[in-house]
């Protein structure tokens, strides 16, 4: 992984596999304190305490085709190698909450990357799932909740070209521009 945005995509894909109907993604930066945080919360099926205890082990996975699962270990590594920390909470039947903190100026902190592109992809490729996305830099914040978009659009799908290009602009102006390329 070369971008934190790709880690967000990967963790959100886990939420989708867990049958989530709502996925909340928040990226918040505090430039004065030199800290940033990425949080992903879902209402999927969650996991048992026993699974939770070994879920960041690369040799743990829910897949049946092979024995390795690198998603969470890579996300954890991205934070811990950048002066940050990684946390995960989960309850069976309720959902999972994953968040990681980073030291913004740490030399090994990966760039945020194409955060807007990842959000657009998640929203347009998973029309039956709702996403609530939040971005903040301490002074300004922005949000996109697909439930609001759905209310307006009715039965017009998110992946029609016109809607997609609207969402692309909306995400850029309301979410990614908040960081002004500084992450």
């Amino acid at each position: 992984m070369r971008e934190l945005a790709l880690n967000i995509l990967d963790i959100a894909e886990n939420s989708l596999s867990a049958g989530a109907t709502l996925i909340e993604i928040a990226v918040t930066a505090d430039f004065a304190a030199d800290r940033m945080r990425i949080a992903i919360r879902d209402n999927g099926k969650g996991m048992s305490a026993e699974m939770l205890a070994r879920v960041t082990d690369p040799f743990t996975t829910t897949r049946t085709t092979r024995k390795v699962g690198m998603g969470l270990p890579l996300f954890k590594y991205s934070a811990e190698s950048a002066g940050g920390s990684f946390h995960i909470e989960s309850e069976e039947g309720k959902g999972t909450y994953v968040w990681a903190e980073y030291c913004i100026s740490h030399v090994d902190r990966m760039p945020l990357g194409d955060f807007g592109g990842v959000i657009l992809q998640l929203i347009t490729q998973n029309p039956s799932v709702d996403f609530s996305v939040f971005a903040a830099n301490g002074e300004r914040d922005g949000a996109l909740d697909t439930r609001d978009v759905r209310d307006i659009l009715g039965d017009i799908p998110f992946n029609t070209p016109e809607v997609r290009s609207f969402l692309k602009e909306y995400i850029k102006e309301n979410l990614t521009d908040i960081f002004g390329g500084r992450l």
């Binding site: 790709l6 690198m70 998603g71 992809q121 009715g154 029609t160 016109e162 609207f166 909306y170 309301n174």
Partner: protein
Amino acid sequence: MKSLEELRALREKMKSQTDNRSVASGDETVIKVGMATCGIAAGARPVLDALLDEADKRHLHNVSISQTGCIGMCRLEPIVEVYKGGNKYTYVHMTPEKARKVMVEHVVNGNVCKEFLVGENS
């Protein structure tokens, strides 16, 4: 700045168009891009973006592009599967450039890009 109010206006404009759009022909092409950890790390996201971009640019309404989980050959990622004319074609080690070529040569013109297929590359 873009607001959801603009979306409301867009919806009104589109209502009249939805009918034309749904008249897609039966020979739909389905394209799937592997988007598990292995695919993402190998660069599947730019590949998916390139496919969507080509489809938009060429107004290909009978092409459905979506993502899927791990296809099972992680070392060959990014993998793109094209279902066309009752057959499945598995393209491996894709890049945005190769993906655009597949869109033009195979999906639009019907000539399979043999050099990118799994049999030639594994």
